[in-house]
């Protein structure tokens, strides 16, 4: 039931981002969809190999920081581009790779 609920949140998040009524609503949709998807995996794989819930939150917080930062910097050039290129694109890589490495431990 909980997994079904989480996937319902994924669907809701996708719908919010797909309708794009307001940037903040779309952003909330993205975070809801991706975090619920990761949480669903964490839940299903609770037996082995066990993913860290802290990693899920770290991943979510990074996403939130990058996307909120982009919204905050939308009128600023070229800082907005450098924000996306730096934290959003290049610096996010090691974090996400480390997230996978921690989440997918050797059984």
């Amino acid at each position: 039931m909980a997994t079904r609920l989480l996937l319902g949140v994924v669907a809701g998040g996708i719908a919010l981002a797909g309708l794009s009524l307001h940037p903040l609503v779309a952003l909330a949709g993205i975070l809801a969809a991706l975090l619920s998807l990761l949480a669903s995996c964490a839940r299903v794989e609770a037996e082995e190999p066990s993913p860290s819930r802290g990693s899920v939150w770290a991943c979510g917080l990074t996403l939130a920081a990058v996307l909120l930062g982009a919204l905050f910097l939308r009128g600023r050039s070229p800082v907005g581009f450098l924000w996306l290129l730096g934290p959003g694109f290049v610096l996010a890589v090691p974090l996400f790779l480390a997230f996978f490495a921690r989440s997918f431990r050797k059984p």
Binding site: G8, A17, G18, S20, L37, F96, F100
Partner: protein, 452 residues
């Protein structure tokens, strides 16, 4: 240059001849016997997933929309990890190992879902092949290397020859080589373009142009919708999932995100490098604002070596994508549909025939009718996302009855295709692929659990 298509054809025919007499199993033809390591599957997966749009269309979009175009690839650091975590482990844990997406769905959801998935994949693959063929004609004419139609048929025949002969047993190696070429070419082109445009770039960065704000000239809502579409969409693209069927073991899966992410980042440097240089040169009036043609103009400015390198990169990207779609199409029509309808014996000859015939139909659609391609073009990334994501997540998380999953996949596909027909009338930011996927997933989640 006009002899180059024939040279390609000869090399590929030689490759095909080397494999045509081998006896291949379904797992060998469709999934390289599940024997690929992380590096091989990762490089091949990157090549299969990226089309020539990365080399030409993406940078041109950057020159037109500024940083707004960056949102199509901003999720790249996450997608490799997301695919591996959400689906990689699940696919590798299946016994017996599936070789196609419809077969993966059938493990939990039964033959009707397999038939639906195979039909949707067939439609999507034909559309994707047509779009690739159209891309070859446009690129050949843009680079001024001869008849676009001749190039389109040469590229298709060259790819179909080795894919029909050896399937993914050959395809995975050729794709991996092409992926490596794409990475090297992309980094070199990006560096050359940025160096050439450094003065213009200095001007662009110091004037504080709105093109370099975090959304460029795109509405934030639209940019955010693109982000999610190209992030979760990777979980539902058959040519993205194919690499997991090739993979040897869970041990290799642990290494796969590194290869996927790093190779993807290397190839995507061309998007930012060429795009940023083109944007700066257009803003400074050193290049005309010529839509998609701005990239060939920029390459010509960089010299004949850059044009040749870009042509090689585009060719590698198109051939690897065509190879993947030909294989998926063959799998749907010669493996999944017959098995779901009760014929258990797989035929290598029939698979080879479908690889060639299906690919030929897609290519003919692409080169003969721009109108058809414009219509079929809608059945692309968004269509696969809307139609397959509900089914893939239902199988992954064991939710939904087969009947509701089937309804969800059909609803998602129908919603996406229907809304795409009226895209011009839709409010900015409304994304048919995402809405279709959301409705389909709602259908799966709210429907009964049921039994097979």
């Amino acid at each position: 240059m006009s002899a180059a298509p024939f040279l390609f054809l000869i090399v590929s025919l030689a490759l095909a001849l080397a494999f045509v007499r081998r006896r291949l199993s379904a797992a060998g033809f469709l999934a390289a016997d599940h024997q690929a390591g992380a590096v091989l599957a990762g490089l091949a997966g990157t090549a299969m997933g990226l089309s020539a749009f990365v080399f030409v269309g993406g940078p041109a979009l950057f020159a037109q929309l500024g940083v707004g175009a960056f949102w199509l690839i901003l999720s790249a650091p996450l997608t490799g990890v997301l695919q591996c975590w959400v689906l990689g482990g699940f696919i590798l844990a299946q016994e017996p190992r599936p070789v196609t997406v419809p077969e993966l769905l059938a493990h939990r959801l039964g033959p009707p879902v397999r038939v639906t998935a195979a039909v949707l994949l067939t439609l999507g693959c034909l559309a994707a092949l047509a779009v690739q063929a159209r891309a070859v004609t446009v690129l050949a004419e843009g680079f001024g290397v001869g008849s676009g139609k001749l190039w389109a048929f040469a590229v298709f025949l060259a790819t179909a020859a080795y894919m029909a002969a050896g399937g993914m047993r050959v395809g995975v190696w050729v794709d991996a080589v092409q992926g490596s070429i794409m990475g090297v070419v992309a980094v070199a082109l990006a560096a050359a373009a940025l160096l050439d445009a450094r003065e213009a770039l200095r001007g662009l960065f110091t004037t504080g142009s709105s093109w370099l704000s975090s959304f460029g000239t795109v509405s934030p809502s639209q940019a955010l919708a693109w982000y999610l579409l190209f992030c979760v969409g990777t979980l539902a693209q058959p040519h993205y999932l194919q690499k997991f069927f090739l993979l040897r073991s869970r041990e290799e899966l642990r290494r796969l995100p590194w290869v996927l992410t790093l190779s993807l980042m290397a190839v995507l440097t061309v998007w930012v490098g060429l795009g940023l240089a083109a944007l700066a040169l257009v803003q400074q009036g050193q290049l005309p604002a010529a839509g998609d043609a701005v990239v060939p103009l920029l390459l010509q400015r960089l010299g004949p070596t850059a044009v040749l390198a870009a042509a090689v990169g585009c060719l590698a990207a198109i051939m690897s994508t065509v190879a993947s779609f030909c294989n998926v199409l063959s799998a749907s029509l010669a493996y999944d549909l017959p098995q779901a309808l009760g014929r258990s014996r797989w035929s290598l000859g029939w698979s080879r025939f479908i690889t060639v015939a299906g690919g030929l139909v897609g290519t003919l659609l692409g080169v003969e009718s721009g109108r058809t391609v414009a219509f079929l073009g809608i059945l692309g990334w968004g269509f696969f996302t809307a139609s397959l994501l509900p089914g893939v997540l239902a199988a992954r998380f064991s939710i939904g009855s087969p009947r509701w999953v089937l309804a969800g996949m059909t609803l998602g596909a129908g919603t996406c295709a229907g809304l795409e027909l009226f895209r011009a009338q839709l409010p900015a930011g409304v994304e048919p692929g995402l809405l279709g996927a959301a409705l389909g997933l709602f259908c799966v989640v709210l429907g009964g659990q049921g039994k097979r």
